[in-house]
């Protein structure tokens, strides 16, 4: 069916996924105790405000209407890509989350490039000397890095590269709306932490696939036609071996886009994660929805990109109709 068939099917599927996401996110947030109004009124106001006044304010904001009506109205808005305004302060949601989203996409984007490259480098190195000491140390090393919680590796990296050696900033002191170049300047340690945590799984998958590929008949034919081991690994084994790793990479990167909250807390990175925490704490459903939908579409795009790369790497899927 090739790329176009896949694109069509994937597009239809992703619309359904986004619909499901917004439904689950809506009812999930609606279930939480309290609502946008009580979340925003300061403590001393909450004590003195009368129930009637509270009810009047809720009606004013329209958050007292039945959930089904509110959800339908929300879907109507989303259809025209209008992400609406925050419930109480009436700010445009997009204006509020655009920069944090951009920052998180930069972080996720660079990690999406760096992590697989690191995994490929490590896996190829360990496979070129099978059963050797390097293979064992790499496997053990990546597992150890994965086994340490992110806030440990993050803080240890800060102490090493910011406190002891003045290479990177210990605290990212940029405003959320800082220009992208500044964000790039401070992104090294967060990415290193993410890669240390996420590399083990991708490395293991790639290494296993490489070993399996090197045992295949076509690698043996390449070897027996005089190709050097390096060439057999890189040109013949690697492309096919990347396929299982790619879906893991896509999953790893998509979990970063709106999930990198621990990293944002440790480094003070102005990402979308903290914005999500804020939106949940103020029960601001439009913001939560917007962040969830952007996150979900980024995830869907990530998986789609991975599928396209798999298509590029494995022609058997791409051009099946000729056989």
């Amino acid at each position: 069916m090739g790329a176009t068939g896949l694109a069509l099917r994937r597009l239809a599927a992703s619309l359904l996924v986004l619909l499901l996401v917004s439904a689950v996110v809506y009812w999930g947030t609606a279930v939480l105790p309290g609502d946008a109004l009580t979340a925003v009124l300061p403590m001393d106001v909450l004590q003195t405000i009368s129930p009637e006044e509270l009810a009047r304010k809720r009606a004013e904001l329209g958050i007292d209407r039945p959930h089904l009506v509110q959800f339908a109205e929300f879907l109507g808005r989303i259809a025209q890509l209008d992400f609406g305004r925050t419930t109480v302060t009436r700010e445009a949601v997009l204006e509020r989350i655009d920069h944090p989203l951009r920052n998180s996409l930069i972080l996720a984007g660079l990690t999406a490039i760096a992590a697989p490259l690191a995994a490929i480098a490590l896996a190829v190195a360990s496979v070129l000397r099978p059963r050797g000491r390097l293979d064992a140390t790499l496997t053990g090393g990546t597992l150890f890095a994965y086994s340490l919680p992110e806030f440990v590796t993050g803080n240890l990296l800060i102490i090493l590269f910011a406190v002891l050696l003045p290479v990177a900033p210990a605290v990212i002191m940029l405003p959320t709306t800082a220009p992208s170049l500044d964000i790039l300047g401070v992104i090294a340690l967060p990415i290193a932490t993410l890669i240390l945590g996420g590399i083990a799984y991708q490395y293991r998958l790639l290494r296993a696939a490489l070993i399996e590929a090197l045992d295949s008949d076509y690698c043996e034919r390449a070897r027996l036609s005089g190709a050097s081991e390096w060439r057999v690994v890189v040109r013949h084994a690697l492309p096919a071996a990347l396929v299982p790793m790619l879906s893991a990479t896509a999953q790893f990167v998509s979990s970063l886009i709106s999930g990198g909250i621990v990293i944002e807390f440790i480094f003070g990175f102005p990402g979308i994660g903290q914005e999500l925490v804020q939106a949940i704490s103020t029960r601001d459903i439009p913001s939560v929805q917007a962040i969830a939908l952007f996150g979900a579409s980024a995830v869907v795009l990530c998986n789609f990109a991975a599928d396209l790369m798999i298509l590029a790497l494995d022609p058997r899927v791409r051009r099946r109709s000729h056989a």
Partner: protein, 544 residues
């Protein structure tokens, strides 16, 4: 002048249990420049390991513990890795077994050929490309440019085999080692490929080493033959000596097991047919892009098929891959549904998926599959597999089902000590016997056998065919015996049906079809399978 001398070669594998298993145990032989040596043996006899040892290559976990492989006097086993890499493809080359797995799936055919040419002929740019296209042309590829741009999975079996040979001969090696060159091919393409290899030898004067389990093909192409068993050479001689007057008991058993292209003695056919087909047709539906689009039918897999099969008799169905023979089997036993035309069993319409057929009908029609390992659930014990059939078809209580199953298995050669084993722990032959027992547990009247021996070695194949003949003799069951191997079919079939691209090319009693078939395609097929004894079968190209 000797090109290759192998002296007392031993290749040992580290056994998982810690011991050492010798795959090649002291093999010695010589091969003159431009000679052709055949090495024959069943799976596990060490022939593939020996073939790779000729390129100083051992699979992971194996070591050359003794002996030498002298190529033009120098021992390539002692060569440094760099020297080994240089000689592979230039001095000695290997044509691997099944071409689809042996070609890198994500590189075009042209790219893979150019890689070898660039390394051994130092060509680059357009010179490299033209050399590649000439090489493909030399392999009788009709349109080299189109094939070069294609990926391996987009080429036919014959084309892939030719590409693999092209890759091997690209470096103009002095010694060409062929590992099971024709196993994956239909008879029609096999002859062409063998002709190509001999043309290459004639042009470059290189020596050939054929390694195969198929004694008939080796006998057709090599002057001298080595028969291997358990890592040792058990017999050595010319093709005629080995085929007509084998000295060793193992070789005698091997030659005896070769299916002979001779019709079974004619038997009186009972009047009432058990299974009939008139104008039977079938087409698979094309895969859909989106789940909601209408399903469109694909090309016809079977067209206007008519035949009858009486109780207790065997109808052999012969055809190459893609001829539709498996589709026919699937329709009869209910794996496939939605055929055109009439299909009747015991004078009643037979159709629909097995799930929707009444229990009685499901019991009376059974099927045995090609790959024994895949047809038995790996997590069920042997006894339970067969007992399950008794409980499913005869609603017997578990205990009686087990005793009936034990008796049936014993009768078919599966001893008590194997009953509690998982299928994974049995040999191929044993697994197929269990599958046969499971089929007969239902006490069927018709058994559809789809390539039931193609995955087995020749000696095991002979045993399984004996089992099937005995079961038919004892229980009077009818067989729809499907295979690509005309010789195997001729050993079983009362009548033979030859299928090609979904259409019948010949149908009639075995003697008639094998004797003087009217249809050209059938005539060529019969010639290709004719026995060694009659005359050295020259490779006869079969019209497409």
């Amino acid at each position: 002048m000797t090109l290759l001398r192998v002296e007392g070669l031993v290749v040992a594998y580290r056994d998982p249990a810690g011991g050492e298993r010798r795959a090649v145990d002291g093999v010695s032989f010589t091969l003159a420049r431009g000679g052709a040596l055949g090495i024959v043996g069943e799976s596990g006899c060490g022939k593939s390991t020996l073939a790779r040892a000729l390129l100083a290559h051992g699979r992971p976990g194996s070591r050359f513990t003794a002996g030498q492989v002298l190529l033009d006097g120098t021992d390539i086993l002692a060569a440094t890795p760099a020297e080994r890499t240089r000689l592979r493809g230039r001095r000695v080359a290997l044509v691997p077994q099944n071409p689809l797995q042996a070609l890198t799936p994500h590189l075009t055919i042209g790219a893979q050929l150019q890689e070898v040419l660039a390394r051994h002929r130092g060509l680059r740019g357009t010179a490299l490309r033209t050399a590649m296209l000439d090489l493909l042309a030399a392999m009788q590829i009709a349109d080299p440019a189109t094939l070069a741009a294609r990926y391996p999975h987009e080429a036919s079996g014959g084309q892939r085999q030719r590409v693999v040979i092209a890759a091997a001969v690209a470096g103009e090696p002095d010694l060409l080692v062929l590992d099971e060159p024709t196993t994956a091919l239909d008879k029609s393409t096999e002859a062409q490929v063998l002709a190509l290899v001999q043309a290459q030898q004639a042009r470059t004067g290189c020596a050939l080493v054929y390694v195969s389990h198929d004694l008939r093909t080796i006998a057709a192409t090599c002057q001298e033959i080595l028969v291997m068993h358990g890592g040792r050479v058990v017999e050595r001689g010319t093709a005629d000596e080995v085929l007509t007057s084998p000295r060793e008991p193992y070789t005698r058993n091997l030659v005896g097991a070769l299916p002979q292209l001779a019709p079974r003695p004619a038997r009186q056919a009972p009047p009432l047919p058990l299974l009939e087909a008139q104008g039977l047709g079938f087409a698979y539906t094309r895969p859909r892009a989106l789940p909601f689009l209408p399903r469109r039918p694909g090309p016809a897999a079977l067209d206007a098929i008519g035949f009858t099969l009486a109780p207790g008799r065997t109808l052999g169905v012969v055809g190459e891959s893609g001829s539709g023979k498996s589709t026919l089997g699937g329709l009869v036993c209910g794996l496939l549904a939605g055929h055109a035309g009439a299909l009747r069993f015991d004078n009643a319409a037979l159709g629909g998926a097995a799930r929707h057929r009444p229990l009685a009908l499901r019991r009376r029609v059974q099927m045995i599959f090609q790959d024994p390992a895949a047809s038995l659930n790996p997590r069920h014990r042997v006894l339970d597999l067969v007992a399950r059939a008794f409980t499913a078809y005869h609603a017997l209580p578990a205990a009686t089902a087990r005793t009936r199953a034990e008796a049936l298995l014993a009768g078919i050669g599966i001893g008590a000590e194997l009953l509690r084993r998982m299928p994974g722990e049995l040999s191929g032959g044993q697994q197929q016997r269990v599958a046969i027992a499971r089929a007969f547990a239902a006490e069927p009247e018709l058994v559809v056998c789809d390539e039931i021996t193609s995955a087995l070695d020749v000696t095991i194949q002979a045993q399984v065919l004996d089992v099937m003949r005995n079961m038919q003799r004892d229980r009077g069951v009818a067989y729809l015996f499907i295979s690509h191997d005309l010789a195997v079919v001729s050993e079983m079939a009362d009548d033979i049906l030859v299928l090609h691209h979904g259409r019948i090319r010949a149908l009639g009693p075995a003697a008639e079809v094998l004797g003087a078939p009217a249809d050209a395609y059938t005539r060529a097929l019969v010639a290709a399978f004719s026995s060694r004894r009659a005359a050295a079968p020259t490779p006869v190209p079969i019209p497409a």
